[in-house]
Amino acid sequence: MHYVSEILPSLLSGAWMTIKIFFWTLIASIPLGILASLGLTSRIAPLRWILKFYVWLMRGTPLLLQLIFVFYGLPIIGVIFQRYDAALFAFILNYTAYFAEIFRGGFQAIDQGQYESARVLRLTRAQTLRKIVIPQVVKIVVPSIGNETINLIKDSSLVYVIGLGDLLRAGNVATARDVTLLPLVLVGVIYLLMTAVATFVLRKVEQHYRSWR
């Protein structure tokens, strides 16, 4: 028990890094994903192509590679990121692509008649999106967004590779130093706690959207 309280501060500070990456990635990627999904279904062909290529690239290559590319690769051509910025940049770029695909599917599931009935009621395009389309899209995508959110908590451990002090690194350092499995077990427990909290919040969101069909 004494040992646990000794390593806990470093684990918690690692967990804080994990939470920061998780949080900022989510906050940025969801709105960017919505914008990109509108671009993916846009009438402007070049915009569509560029976004399709971007989504294809992000989903077709490992996030680990993207992370290494941003932090170790880009400096070669003069683009230098701090570790933390590199991690956020790569994560946001990657998750925006996944969210864009999810939202694209959501938007395409909306009946054209909904736009038309909003139009004969004289709603503007923005009002139609905000009041009618987006709430329906959100309801459709919540389960898939939830899956990605849980994945993101676990994926955040990939920042280990660029030397960022996250939860996994903190546990690994303690295990290597003290030759005990306990820190890694604790790391597992903390991840489980974080995914449990996220799962709980997602259930609440799903429940909120269950009042209508």
Partner: protein, 212 residues
């Protein structure tokens, strides 16, 4: 009065309406009849501005009028769609008051007061806080009618108002349409049901399929 003059509508080179003329007198019920595929829905969509016509003109109260680009809130053409197209994420009351608030800039209280009158008139009292999925077909249709009326349209259009309903509800739709006529509402009703058209209409306009 709305007048359609020489309306032509094509879809990818296929002519659906050719030199179509019609007059819609104020306060009356105009039924548009014709076989399936004749172009009735297309005609309604042109009148309500959801489709652009290829040529011809619309004249509303003596002035030319372009339904597809009309932003004048005094000249609204209301539509009750065949499948109603209520907004599933909004309650009955919110479905009705959304446009009056956003478009006509009514206050919430104003919009709800007017909505409540229409709700009571169309026998929807007590359904205000339900969501569309909790309503029967007939109730959904009445909500769609109230929603369209709430922005004070010049003309109210219906596409096949009897088709999504049980046959015994036909009577109810008839009496709703006739009671709105009592309130001086100008109405255009598309239907393939000749009997229904004869029961309600002041004038019946035929749309015939055009042979390619």
């Amino acid at each position: 009065m709305l007048e359609l003059k020489n309306i032509k509508k094509q879809f990818g080179g296929r002519t659906i309406l050719d030199n179509f003329n019609m007059q819609v007198p104020d306060g009356q019920i105009t039924a548009i009849v014709g076989p399936s595929g004749a172009g009735k829905t297309t005609l309604l969509r042109c009148i309500s501005g959801l489709e652009k016509t290829n040529s011809g003109s619309f004249i509303l109260d003596g002035k030319t009028f372009d339904p597809a680009n009309n932003r004048d809130n005094d000249n609204v053409i209301g539509v009750v769609f065949q499948d109603f197209q209520l907004f599933p994420n909004l309650t009955v009351l919110d479905n009705i008051t959304l446009a009056p608030q956003l478009v006509l800039k009514q206050s919430k209280a104003e919009a709800e007061k007017r909505a409540q009158e229409l709700i009571d008139q169309l026998n929807l009292t007590g359904k205000e806080s339900l969501y569309p999925y909790q309503l029967s077909g007939g109730q959904k249709q009445r909500v769609a009618i109230v929603r369209a009326l709430a922005i004070n349209p010049k003309i109210l259009c219906y596409d096949e108002p009897t088709s999504a309903l049980d046959p015994d509800l036909r009577q109810t739709v008839e009496s709703i349409i006739l009671s709105l006529k009592q309130d001086n509402m100008t109405q255009i009703v598309v239907t393939h049901d000749m009997q229904f058209a004869e029961n309600i209409a002041d004038q019946i306009v035929r749309v015939e399929p055009i042979k390619a």
